[in-house]
Symmetry: C2
Subunit: 278 residues, 2 copies
Protein backbone atom coordinates (compact mmCIF):
# COMPACT_ATOMS: atom_id res chain seq x y z
CA UNK A 1 0.00 0.00 0.00
CA UNK A 2 1.30 3.49 -0.73
CA UNK A 3 2.26 5.83 2.07
CA UNK A 4 0.28 8.96 2.76
CA UNK A 5 0.43 11.78 0.27
CA UNK A 6 3.07 14.19 1.51
CA UNK A 7 1.06 17.29 0.65
CA UNK A 8 4.24 19.29 0.35
CA UNK A 9 3.42 22.91 -0.24
CA UNK A 10 5.24 24.46 -3.18
CA UNK A 11 8.30 26.30 -1.90
CA UNK A 12 11.09 28.10 -3.65
CA UNK A 13 9.67 26.90 -6.90
CA UNK A 14 10.22 28.76 -10.10
CA UNK A 15 6.68 28.45 -11.27
CA UNK A 16 3.74 26.37 -10.11
CA UNK A 17 0.09 25.94 -10.93
CA UNK A 18 -2.09 24.21 -13.47
CA UNK A 19 -1.69 26.86 -16.17
CA UNK A 20 1.93 27.90 -15.83
CA UNK A 21 2.97 31.19 -17.32
CA UNK A 22 6.17 31.29 -19.32
CA UNK A 23 9.14 31.17 -16.97
CA UNK A 24 11.88 33.67 -17.82
CA UNK A 25 15.24 32.17 -16.90
CA UNK A 26 17.08 35.36 -17.90
CA UNK A 27 15.54 37.11 -14.92
CA UNK A 28 17.47 34.86 -12.53
CA UNK A 29 21.06 36.03 -12.23
CA UNK A 30 23.56 33.16 -12.00
CA UNK A 31 25.61 35.40 -9.71
CA UNK A 32 22.77 36.01 -7.24
CA UNK A 33 23.30 34.76 -3.70
CA UNK A 34 19.91 34.87 -1.98
CA UNK A 35 21.01 32.42 0.73
CA UNK A 36 24.36 33.99 1.48
CA UNK A 37 25.26 35.72 4.76
CA UNK A 38 27.60 37.96 2.79
CA UNK A 39 30.63 36.30 4.34
CA UNK A 40 32.16 33.44 2.37
CA UNK A 41 33.82 31.73 5.33
CA UNK A 42 30.57 31.83 7.29
CA UNK A 43 28.69 30.42 4.27
CA UNK A 44 31.17 27.56 3.99
CA UNK A 45 30.80 26.76 7.69
CA UNK A 46 27.01 26.87 7.27
CA UNK A 47 27.17 24.34 4.43
CA UNK A 48 29.19 21.98 6.62
CA UNK A 49 26.73 22.31 9.49
CA UNK A 50 23.81 21.75 7.11
CA UNK A 51 25.45 18.67 5.56
CA UNK A 52 25.76 17.13 9.05
CA UNK A 53 22.14 18.01 9.84
CA UNK A 54 21.04 16.48 6.54
CA UNK A 55 22.87 13.29 7.47
CA UNK A 56 20.81 13.10 10.70
CA UNK A 57 17.58 13.95 8.91
CA UNK A 58 18.22 11.30 6.28
CA UNK A 59 18.80 8.75 9.02
CA UNK A 60 15.43 9.67 10.53
CA UNK A 61 13.86 9.55 7.06
CA UNK A 62 15.24 6.03 6.64
CA UNK A 63 13.85 4.91 10.03
CA UNK A 64 10.47 6.53 9.40
CA UNK A 65 9.87 4.67 6.11
CA UNK A 66 6.65 6.52 5.28
CA UNK A 67 8.11 8.44 2.36
CA UNK A 68 10.39 8.08 -0.63
CA UNK A 69 12.50 11.02 -1.78
CA UNK A 70 13.54 11.69 -5.35
CA UNK A 71 15.95 14.56 -5.98
CA UNK A 72 16.58 15.68 -9.57
CA UNK A 73 19.73 17.65 -10.38
CA UNK A 74 19.63 19.28 -13.80
CA UNK A 75 21.99 21.80 -15.33
CA UNK A 76 24.37 22.28 -18.20
CA UNK A 77 27.93 20.88 -18.27
CA UNK A 78 30.07 22.21 -15.38
CA UNK A 79 27.00 23.61 -13.59
CA UNK A 80 28.03 21.69 -10.47
CA UNK A 81 25.93 18.53 -10.29
CA UNK A 82 28.84 16.36 -9.11
CA UNK A 83 29.96 19.06 -6.67
CA UNK A 84 26.45 19.20 -5.20
CA UNK A 85 26.45 15.44 -4.69
CA UNK A 86 29.73 15.66 -2.80
CA UNK A 87 29.05 18.86 -0.87
CA UNK A 88 25.39 18.42 0.08
CA UNK A 89 24.64 14.69 -0.02
CA UNK A 90 28.15 13.40 0.64
CA UNK A 91 27.80 12.93 4.37
CA UNK A 92 24.59 10.90 4.20
CA UNK A 93 24.79 7.13 4.69
CA UNK A 94 25.15 5.05 1.53
CA UNK A 95 22.64 2.69 3.17
CA UNK A 96 19.70 4.91 2.30
CA UNK A 97 21.02 7.21 -0.41
CA UNK A 98 21.53 6.19 -4.01
CA UNK A 99 22.70 8.29 -6.90
CA UNK A 100 22.06 7.55 -10.56
CA UNK A 101 24.14 9.31 -13.22
CA UNK A 102 22.10 9.14 -16.42
CA UNK A 103 23.89 8.74 -19.74
CA UNK A 104 22.61 8.37 -23.30
CA UNK A 105 20.11 5.49 -23.45
CA UNK A 106 21.32 2.02 -24.41
CA UNK A 107 19.80 -0.15 -27.16
CA UNK A 108 17.32 -2.00 -24.86
CA UNK A 109 16.39 1.33 -23.25
CA UNK A 110 15.67 2.93 -26.60
CA UNK A 111 13.42 -0.02 -27.49
CA UNK A 112 10.98 1.03 -24.72
CA UNK A 113 9.40 4.33 -23.71
CA UNK A 114 11.94 6.80 -22.32
CA UNK A 115 10.46 6.63 -18.80
CA UNK A 116 11.05 2.87 -18.59
CA UNK A 117 14.61 3.07 -17.29
CA UNK A 118 13.77 6.08 -15.09
CA UNK A 119 10.90 4.32 -13.32
CA UNK A 120 13.14 1.35 -12.50
CA UNK A 121 15.41 3.59 -10.43
CA UNK A 122 12.84 5.39 -8.26
CA UNK A 123 13.41 5.19 -4.50
CA UNK A 124 11.75 2.66 -2.18
CA UNK A 125 10.19 3.61 1.17
CA UNK A 126 12.79 5.31 3.35
CA UNK A 127 15.21 5.78 0.47
CA UNK A 128 16.67 8.93 -1.05
CA UNK A 129 17.59 8.73 -4.73
CA UNK A 130 19.46 11.56 -6.39
CA UNK A 131 19.37 11.76 -10.18
CA UNK A 132 22.43 13.38 -11.74
CA UNK A 133 20.66 14.42 -14.95
CA UNK A 134 17.29 12.74 -15.43
CA UNK A 135 14.26 12.10 -17.63
CA UNK A 136 14.41 15.81 -18.51
CA UNK A 137 17.41 15.04 -20.75
CA UNK A 138 15.05 12.89 -22.84
CA UNK A 139 13.19 16.05 -23.79
CA UNK A 140 15.93 18.70 -23.65
CA UNK A 141 18.47 16.95 -25.89
CA UNK A 142 16.12 15.63 -28.62
CA UNK A 143 14.15 18.88 -28.44
CA UNK A 144 17.15 21.17 -28.96
CA UNK A 145 18.52 18.91 -31.70
CA UNK A 146 15.09 18.76 -33.36
CA UNK A 147 15.01 14.95 -33.28
CA UNK A 148 11.47 15.37 -31.95
CA UNK A 149 8.84 17.95 -32.89
CA UNK A 150 7.60 20.75 -30.58
CA UNK A 151 4.34 18.76 -30.30
CA UNK A 152 6.30 15.76 -29.03
CA UNK A 153 8.17 17.97 -26.56
CA UNK A 154 4.80 19.07 -25.19
CA UNK A 155 3.53 15.49 -25.14
CA UNK A 156 6.57 14.32 -23.18
CA UNK A 157 6.24 17.07 -20.59
CA UNK A 158 2.63 15.94 -20.11
CA UNK A 159 3.88 12.36 -19.58
CA UNK A 160 6.46 13.61 -17.10
CA UNK A 161 3.88 15.63 -15.16
CA UNK A 162 1.60 12.57 -15.00
CA UNK A 163 4.50 10.36 -13.94
CA UNK A 164 5.71 12.72 -11.21
CA UNK A 165 2.14 13.19 -10.01
CA UNK A 166 1.67 9.43 -9.70
CA UNK A 167 4.95 9.18 -7.78
CA UNK A 168 3.84 11.96 -5.43
CA UNK A 169 0.44 10.38 -4.88
CA UNK A 170 2.08 7.09 -3.94
CA UNK A 171 4.33 8.62 -1.28
CA UNK A 172 7.33 10.00 -3.17
CA UNK A 173 8.51 13.54 -2.51
CA UNK A 174 9.91 14.92 -5.77
CA UNK A 175 12.40 17.80 -5.50
CA UNK A 176 13.95 19.28 -8.64
CA UNK A 177 16.93 21.62 -8.82
CA UNK A 178 18.05 23.52 -11.89
CA UNK A 179 21.67 24.62 -11.47
CA UNK A 180 21.93 27.94 -13.27
CA UNK A 181 25.36 29.19 -14.37
CA UNK A 182 26.42 31.94 -16.76
CA UNK A 183 28.04 31.27 -20.12
CA UNK A 184 31.19 33.00 -18.93
CA UNK A 185 31.40 30.85 -15.79
CA UNK A 186 31.10 27.75 -17.98
CA UNK A 187 33.97 29.02 -20.14
CA UNK A 188 36.17 29.33 -17.04
CA UNK A 189 35.25 25.90 -15.74
CA UNK A 190 35.74 24.14 -19.08
CA UNK A 191 39.12 25.85 -19.50
CA UNK A 192 40.04 24.73 -15.97
CA UNK A 193 39.21 21.16 -16.89
CA UNK A 194 41.46 21.41 -19.92
CA UNK A 195 44.32 22.99 -17.98
CA UNK A 196 44.27 20.73 -14.92
CA UNK A 197 45.54 17.17 -15.55
CA UNK A 198 43.49 15.88 -12.59
CA UNK A 199 40.29 17.30 -14.11
CA UNK A 200 40.98 16.66 -17.78
CA UNK A 201 39.18 13.27 -17.74
CA UNK A 202 35.92 15.15 -17.20
CA UNK A 203 36.36 17.10 -20.44
CA UNK A 204 34.95 15.86 -23.71
CA UNK A 205 35.05 17.55 -27.10
CA UNK A 206 31.27 17.10 -27.21
CA UNK A 207 31.01 19.65 -24.38
CA UNK A 208 32.11 22.36 -26.83
CA UNK A 209 29.47 21.30 -29.34
CA UNK A 210 26.79 21.55 -26.66
CA UNK A 211 28.22 24.94 -25.61
CA UNK A 212 27.56 26.22 -29.14
CA UNK A 213 23.88 25.54 -28.51
CA UNK A 214 23.92 27.62 -25.28
CA UNK A 215 20.97 29.83 -26.22
CA UNK A 216 18.85 26.94 -27.43
CA UNK A 217 19.49 25.03 -24.20
CA UNK A 218 18.72 28.08 -22.04
CA UNK A 219 15.41 28.43 -23.86
CA UNK A 220 14.75 24.69 -23.54
CA UNK A 221 15.42 24.86 -19.78
CA UNK A 222 12.99 27.75 -19.43
CA UNK A 223 10.41 25.72 -21.38
CA UNK A 224 10.96 22.71 -19.13
CA UNK A 225 10.48 24.79 -15.99
CA UNK A 226 7.36 26.42 -17.45
CA UNK A 227 5.86 23.08 -18.46
CA UNK A 228 6.77 20.98 -15.42
CA UNK A 229 6.94 23.37 -12.47
CA UNK A 230 3.92 21.75 -10.84
CA UNK A 231 2.59 22.06 -7.28
CA UNK A 232 3.47 18.40 -6.70
CA UNK A 233 6.98 18.58 -8.18
CA UNK A 234 8.22 22.18 -8.17
CA UNK A 235 11.52 23.36 -9.58
CA UNK A 236 14.05 25.31 -7.57
CA UNK A 237 16.32 27.39 -9.81
CA UNK A 238 19.70 27.69 -8.08
CA UNK A 239 22.05 30.58 -8.98
CA UNK A 240 25.23 28.52 -9.25
CA UNK A 241 28.17 30.64 -10.37
CA UNK A 242 29.29 30.50 -6.73
CA UNK A 243 29.85 26.90 -5.66
CA UNK A 244 29.50 27.78 -1.99
CA UNK A 245 26.21 29.53 -2.56
CA UNK A 246 24.95 26.68 -4.71
CA UNK A 247 25.59 24.15 -1.94
CA UNK A 248 24.23 26.49 0.73
CA UNK A 249 20.99 27.00 -1.16
CA UNK A 250 20.44 23.35 -2.06
CA UNK A 251 21.29 22.15 1.45
CA UNK A 252 18.91 24.73 2.93
CA UNK A 253 16.05 23.66 0.66
CA UNK A 254 16.74 19.99 1.41
CA UNK A 255 16.56 20.72 5.13
CA UNK A 256 13.22 22.49 4.61
CA UNK A 257 11.93 19.48 2.66
CA UNK A 258 12.89 16.99 5.38
CA UNK A 259 11.45 19.21 8.11
CA UNK A 260 8.17 19.69 6.27
CA UNK A 261 7.57 15.93 6.46
CA UNK A 262 7.31 15.85 10.28
CA UNK A 263 9.50 12.77 10.35
CA UNK A 264 9.45 10.51 13.41
CA UNK A 265 10.93 7.23 14.53
CA UNK A 266 8.44 4.36 14.10
CA UNK A 267 6.19 3.84 17.15
CA UNK A 268 7.77 1.70 19.86
CA UNK A 269 6.82 -1.94 19.96
CA UNK A 270 4.95 -2.27 23.28
CA UNK A 271 6.62 -5.62 23.97
CA UNK A 272 9.99 -3.85 24.19
CA UNK A 273 8.93 -1.70 27.11
CA UNK A 274 10.33 -3.61 30.06
CA UNK A 275 12.74 -5.74 28.11
CA UNK A 276 16.19 -6.13 29.63
CA UNK A 277 19.11 -7.37 27.59
CA UNK A 278 20.83 -10.00 29.74
CA UNK B 1 13.20 7.61 -30.11
CA UNK B 2 9.67 6.27 -29.86
CA UNK B 3 7.94 4.73 -32.82
CA UNK B 4 5.00 6.44 -34.48
CA UNK B 5 1.75 6.62 -32.56
CA UNK B 6 -0.38 3.68 -33.73
CA UNK B 7 -3.62 5.72 -33.87
CA UNK B 8 -5.63 2.57 -33.33
CA UNK B 9 -9.30 3.36 -33.60
CA UNK B 10 -11.40 2.09 -30.71
CA UNK B 11 -12.95 -1.24 -31.69
CA UNK B 12 -15.02 -3.77 -29.80
CA UNK B 13 -14.51 -1.69 -26.70
CA UNK B 14 -16.94 -1.76 -23.85
CA UNK B 15 -16.91 1.97 -23.33
CA UNK B 16 -14.67 4.72 -24.61
CA UNK B 17 -14.45 8.48 -24.41
CA UNK B 18 -13.27 11.13 -22.02
CA UNK B 19 -16.38 11.08 -19.85
CA UNK B 20 -17.29 7.41 -19.71
CA UNK B 21 -20.80 6.52 -18.67
CA UNK B 22 -21.23 3.76 -16.15
CA UNK B 23 -20.63 0.41 -17.84
CA UNK B 24 -23.21 -2.25 -16.97
CA UNK B 25 -21.53 -5.65 -16.93
CA UNK B 26 -24.85 -7.43 -16.22
CA UNK B 27 -26.01 -6.53 -19.71
CA UNK B 28 -23.33 -8.75 -21.23
CA UNK B 29 -24.38 -12.39 -21.06
CA UNK B 30 -21.48 -14.76 -20.28
CA UNK B 31 -23.25 -17.31 -22.52
CA UNK B 32 -23.42 -15.01 -25.53
CA UNK B 33 -21.50 -16.10 -28.64
CA UNK B 34 -21.34 -13.08 -30.95
CA UNK B 35 -18.38 -14.55 -32.91
CA UNK B 36 -19.77 -18.07 -33.29
CA UNK B 37 -20.82 -19.61 -36.62
CA UNK B 38 -23.39 -21.65 -34.69
CA UNK B 39 -21.43 -24.84 -35.29
CA UNK B 40 -18.97 -25.83 -32.56
CA UNK B 41 -16.71 -27.95 -34.79
CA UNK B 42 -16.47 -25.12 -37.31
CA UNK B 43 -15.68 -22.66 -34.50
CA UNK B 44 -12.89 -24.92 -33.23
CA UNK B 45 -11.42 -25.20 -36.70
CA UNK B 46 -11.64 -21.42 -37.06
CA UNK B 47 -9.68 -20.92 -33.81
CA UNK B 48 -6.95 -23.22 -35.09
CA UNK B 49 -6.75 -21.35 -38.38
CA UNK B 50 -6.66 -18.01 -36.56
CA UNK B 51 -3.92 -19.19 -34.18
CA UNK B 52 -1.75 -20.08 -37.20
CA UNK B 53 -2.49 -16.70 -38.81
CA UNK B 54 -1.62 -14.95 -35.56
CA UNK B 55 1.71 -16.78 -35.53
CA UNK B 56 2.48 -15.35 -38.98
CA UNK B 57 1.28 -11.88 -38.03
CA UNK B 58 3.39 -11.90 -34.87
CA UNK B 59 6.43 -12.88 -36.94
CA UNK B 60 5.77 -9.90 -39.21
CA UNK B 61 5.22 -7.69 -36.14
CA UNK B 62 8.62 -8.82 -34.83
CA UNK B 63 10.33 -8.02 -38.14
CA UNK B 64 8.60 -4.66 -38.49
CA UNK B 65 9.79 -3.37 -35.07
CA UNK B 66 7.81 -0.14 -35.24
CA UNK B 67 5.37 -1.12 -32.49
CA UNK B 68 5.18 -2.80 -29.11
CA UNK B 69 2.09 -4.80 -28.15
CA UNK B 70 0.76 -5.19 -24.63
CA UNK B 71 -2.15 -7.56 -24.10
CA UNK B 72 -3.92 -7.57 -20.73
CA UNK B 73 -5.99 -10.61 -19.71
CA UNK B 74 -8.23 -9.94 -16.74
CA UNK B 75 -10.99 -12.10 -15.27
CA UNK B 76 -11.98 -13.90 -12.12
CA UNK B 77 -10.58 -17.33 -11.13
CA UNK B 78 -11.32 -20.02 -13.77
CA UNK B 79 -12.39 -17.41 -16.34
CA UNK B 80 -9.90 -18.91 -18.80
CA UNK B 81 -6.78 -16.74 -18.79
CA UNK B 82 -4.41 -19.72 -18.96
CA UNK B 83 -6.58 -21.39 -21.60
CA UNK B 84 -6.46 -18.22 -23.71
CA UNK B 85 -2.68 -18.14 -23.51
CA UNK B 86 -2.50 -21.72 -24.75
CA UNK B 87 -5.30 -21.54 -27.33
CA UNK B 88 -4.72 -18.11 -28.86
CA UNK B 89 -1.07 -17.18 -28.21
CA UNK B 90 0.34 -20.71 -27.94
CA UNK B 91 1.52 -21.01 -31.54
CA UNK B 92 3.46 -17.75 -31.60
CA UNK B 93 7.25 -17.86 -31.33
CA UNK B 94 8.70 -17.54 -27.83
CA UNK B 95 11.31 -15.27 -29.45
CA UNK B 96 8.93 -12.34 -29.61
CA UNK B 97 6.16 -13.23 -27.16
CA UNK B 98 6.50 -13.02 -23.40
CA UNK B 99 3.89 -13.74 -20.77
CA UNK B 100 3.92 -12.40 -17.24
CA UNK B 101 1.72 -14.03 -14.59
CA UNK B 102 1.24 -11.43 -11.88
CA UNK B 103 1.02 -12.55 -8.25
CA UNK B 104 0.70 -10.60 -4.99
CA UNK B 105 3.48 -8.00 -4.79
CA UNK B 106 6.71 -8.86 -2.98
CA UNK B 107 8.30 -6.75 -0.22
CA UNK B 108 10.53 -4.67 -2.56
CA UNK B 109 7.57 -4.19 -4.92
CA UNK B 110 5.34 -2.94 -2.12
CA UNK B 111 8.05 -0.44 -1.14
CA UNK B 112 7.52 1.39 -4.48
CA UNK B 113 4.47 2.61 -6.35
CA UNK B 114 2.32 -0.25 -7.68
CA UNK B 115 3.15 0.56 -11.33
CA UNK B 116 6.89 0.11 -10.72
CA UNK B 117 6.97 -3.66 -11.33
CA UNK B 118 4.44 -3.36 -14.16
CA UNK B 119 6.47 -0.78 -16.08
CA UNK B 120 9.57 -3.00 -15.92
CA UNK B 121 7.77 -5.71 -17.89
CA UNK B 122 6.39 -3.67 -20.80
CA UNK B 123 7.31 -4.92 -24.28
CA UNK B 124 10.22 -3.60 -26.38
CA UNK B 125 9.91 -2.73 -30.07
CA UNK B 126 8.67 -5.77 -31.98
CA UNK B 127 7.69 -7.64 -28.83
CA UNK B 128 4.32 -8.92 -27.69
CA UNK B 129 3.83 -9.14 -23.92
CA UNK B 130 0.74 -10.80 -22.48
CA UNK B 131 -0.17 -10.01 -18.88
CA UNK B 132 -2.02 -12.83 -17.09
CA UNK B 133 -3.67 -10.54 -14.53
CA UNK B 134 -2.16 -7.05 -14.38
CA UNK B 135 -1.97 -3.63 -12.72
CA UNK B 136 -5.77 -3.79 -12.53
CA UNK B 137 -5.41 -6.28 -9.67
CA UNK B 138 -3.72 -3.49 -7.69
CA UNK B 139 -7.01 -1.62 -7.72
CA UNK B 140 -9.57 -4.46 -7.81
CA UNK B 141 -8.25 -6.47 -4.85
CA UNK B 142 -7.49 -3.61 -2.41
CA UNK B 143 -10.68 -1.83 -3.56
CA UNK B 144 -13.00 -4.80 -2.92
CA UNK B 145 -11.28 -5.53 0.40
CA UNK B 146 -11.49 -1.86 1.38
CA UNK B 147 -7.73 -1.61 1.98
CA UNK B 148 -7.94 1.60 -0.05
CA UNK B 149 -10.68 4.24 -0.14
CA UNK B 150 -13.00 4.89 -3.12
CA UNK B 151 -11.02 8.13 -3.65
CA UNK B 152 -7.79 6.11 -3.91
CA UNK B 153 -9.48 3.72 -6.37
CA UNK B 154 -10.34 6.73 -8.51
CA UNK B 155 -6.82 8.14 -8.16
CA UNK B 156 -5.28 4.83 -9.24
CA UNK B 157 -7.49 4.57 -12.31
CA UNK B 158 -6.33 8.07 -13.26
CA UNK B 159 -2.69 6.91 -12.87
CA UNK B 160 -3.42 3.86 -15.00
CA UNK B 161 -5.07 5.94 -17.74
CA UNK B 162 -2.05 8.28 -17.76
CA UNK B 163 0.35 5.34 -17.82
CA UNK B 164 -1.44 3.55 -20.65
CA UNK B 165 -1.70 6.81 -22.58
CA UNK B 166 2.05 7.37 -22.27
CA UNK B 167 2.69 3.81 -23.45
CA UNK B 168 0.39 4.34 -26.44
CA UNK B 169 2.01 7.66 -27.33
CA UNK B 170 5.44 6.02 -27.31
CA UNK B 171 4.47 3.25 -29.73
CA UNK B 172 2.77 0.58 -27.60
CA UNK B 173 -0.56 -0.86 -28.66
CA UNK B 174 -2.53 -1.70 -25.52
CA UNK B 175 -5.28 -4.32 -25.83
CA UNK B 176 -7.32 -5.32 -22.78
CA UNK B 177 -9.63 -8.34 -22.48
CA UNK B 178 -12.05 -8.94 -19.64
CA UNK B 179 -13.04 -12.62 -19.58
CA UNK B 180 -16.62 -12.70 -18.40
CA UNK B 181 -18.04 -15.94 -16.93
CA UNK B 182 -21.18 -16.64 -14.91
CA UNK B 183 -21.14 -17.57 -11.24
CA UNK B 184 -22.58 -20.97 -12.11
CA UNK B 185 -19.89 -21.65 -14.70
CA UNK B 186 -17.26 -20.81 -12.07
CA UNK B 187 -18.87 -23.29 -9.67
CA UNK B 188 -18.58 -26.05 -12.29
CA UNK B 189 -14.97 -25.22 -13.12
CA UNK B 190 -13.85 -25.00 -9.47
CA UNK B 191 -15.58 -28.32 -8.74
CA UNK B 192 -13.82 -29.83 -11.76
CA UNK B 193 -10.48 -28.67 -10.37
CA UNK B 194 -11.27 -30.35 -7.06
CA UNK B 195 -12.42 -33.58 -8.66
CA UNK B 196 -9.65 -33.98 -11.24
CA UNK B 197 -6.25 -34.97 -9.74
CA UNK B 198 -4.46 -33.43 -12.76
CA UNK B 199 -6.16 -30.06 -12.15
CA UNK B 200 -6.22 -30.03 -8.35
CA UNK B 201 -2.90 -28.11 -8.13
CA UNK B 202 -4.69 -25.11 -9.60
CA UNK B 203 -7.19 -25.03 -6.77
CA UNK B 204 -6.60 -22.97 -3.65
CA UNK B 205 -8.90 -22.54 -0.64
CA UNK B 206 -8.52 -18.80 -1.18
CA UNK B 207 -10.50 -19.17 -4.43
CA UNK B 208 -13.62 -19.92 -2.37
CA UNK B 209 -13.08 -16.82 -0.24
CA UNK B 210 -12.84 -14.69 -3.37
CA UNK B 211 -15.96 -16.44 -4.74
CA UNK B 212 -17.89 -15.22 -1.70
CA UNK B 213 -17.15 -11.68 -2.89
CA UNK B 214 -18.57 -12.41 -6.36
CA UNK B 215 -20.95 -9.45 -6.42
CA UNK B 216 -18.35 -6.99 -5.14
CA UNK B 217 -15.87 -8.13 -7.78
CA UNK B 218 -18.44 -7.91 -10.57
CA UNK B 219 -19.18 -4.35 -9.50
CA UNK B 220 -15.45 -3.60 -9.26
CA UNK B 221 -14.90 -4.95 -12.79
CA UNK B 222 -17.71 -2.76 -14.11
CA UNK B 223 -16.09 0.22 -12.35
CA UNK B 224 -12.70 -0.61 -13.86
CA UNK B 225 -14.16 -0.81 -17.36
CA UNK B 226 -16.06 2.45 -16.84
CA UNK B 227 -12.98 4.26 -15.55
CA UNK B 228 -10.33 2.90 -17.91
CA UNK B 229 -12.11 2.08 -21.16
CA UNK B 230 -10.24 4.81 -23.03
CA UNK B 231 -9.90 5.45 -26.77
CA UNK B 232 -6.18 4.65 -26.48
CA UNK B 233 -6.60 1.46 -24.42
CA UNK B 234 -10.13 0.10 -24.86
CA UNK B 235 -11.53 -2.95 -23.08
CA UNK B 236 -13.03 -5.90 -24.90
CA UNK B 237 -15.49 -7.80 -22.70
CA UNK B 238 -15.42 -11.44 -23.77
CA UNK B 239 -18.39 -13.72 -23.01
CA UNK B 240 -16.39 -16.70 -21.76
CA UNK B 241 -18.68 -19.47 -20.51
CA UNK B 242 -17.84 -21.24 -23.79
CA UNK B 243 -14.09 -21.83 -24.05
CA UNK B 244 -14.26 -22.20 -27.81
CA UNK B 245 -16.13 -18.94 -28.22
CA UNK B 246 -13.75 -17.18 -25.86
CA UNK B 247 -10.73 -18.21 -27.93
CA UNK B 248 -12.53 -17.47 -31.19
CA UNK B 249 -13.42 -13.96 -30.09
CA UNK B 250 -10.01 -13.09 -28.64
CA UNK B 251 -8.15 -14.52 -31.65
CA UNK B 252 -10.44 -12.56 -34.02
CA UNK B 253 -9.84 -9.30 -32.17
CA UNK B 254 -6.08 -9.93 -32.07
CA UNK B 255 -6.09 -10.49 -35.83
CA UNK B 256 -7.96 -7.19 -36.29
CA UNK B 257 -5.38 -5.44 -34.10
CA UNK B 258 -2.41 -6.76 -36.08
CA UNK B 259 -4.09 -5.97 -39.40
CA UNK B 260 -4.94 -2.41 -38.33
CA UNK B 261 -1.21 -1.70 -37.94
CA UNK B 262 -0.41 -2.16 -41.65
CA UNK B 263 2.65 -4.18 -40.75
CA UNK B 264 5.45 -4.58 -43.26
CA UNK B 265 8.91 -6.08 -43.47
CA UNK B 266 11.62 -3.43 -42.99
CA UNK B 267 12.69 -1.74 -46.25
CA UNK B 268 15.36 -3.68 -48.15
CA UNK B 269 18.93 -2.57 -47.72
CA UNK B 270 19.89 -1.30 -51.20
CA UNK B 271 23.32 -2.91 -50.90
CA UNK B 272 21.65 -6.34 -50.82
CA UNK B 273 20.14 -5.92 -54.25
CA UNK B 274 22.60 -7.74 -56.44
CA UNK B 275 24.34 -9.66 -53.69
CA UNK B 276 25.03 -13.32 -54.42
CA UNK B 277 25.89 -15.78 -51.67
CA UNK B 278 28.92 -17.72 -52.89
Amino acid sequence: MPGPTPNLKPYQHAKAGAKPARFDLDKVSPQAKPYSSGDKAADKAAVETLARELDELQNLFYADRRFKLLVVLQGTDTSGKDGTLRGVFGQMSALGVHTVAWKAPTEPERARDYLWRIHQQVPANGEVTVFNRSHYEDVLVPGVNKWITPAQVKERYAHINDFERMLTETGTVVVKFMLHISKDEQRKRLQERLDDPTKRWKFSAGDLEVRKQWKQYQRAYADAISATGTPWAPWTVVPADSKTHRNLMIASVMKQVFESLKLRYPPDDASLKNLKVV
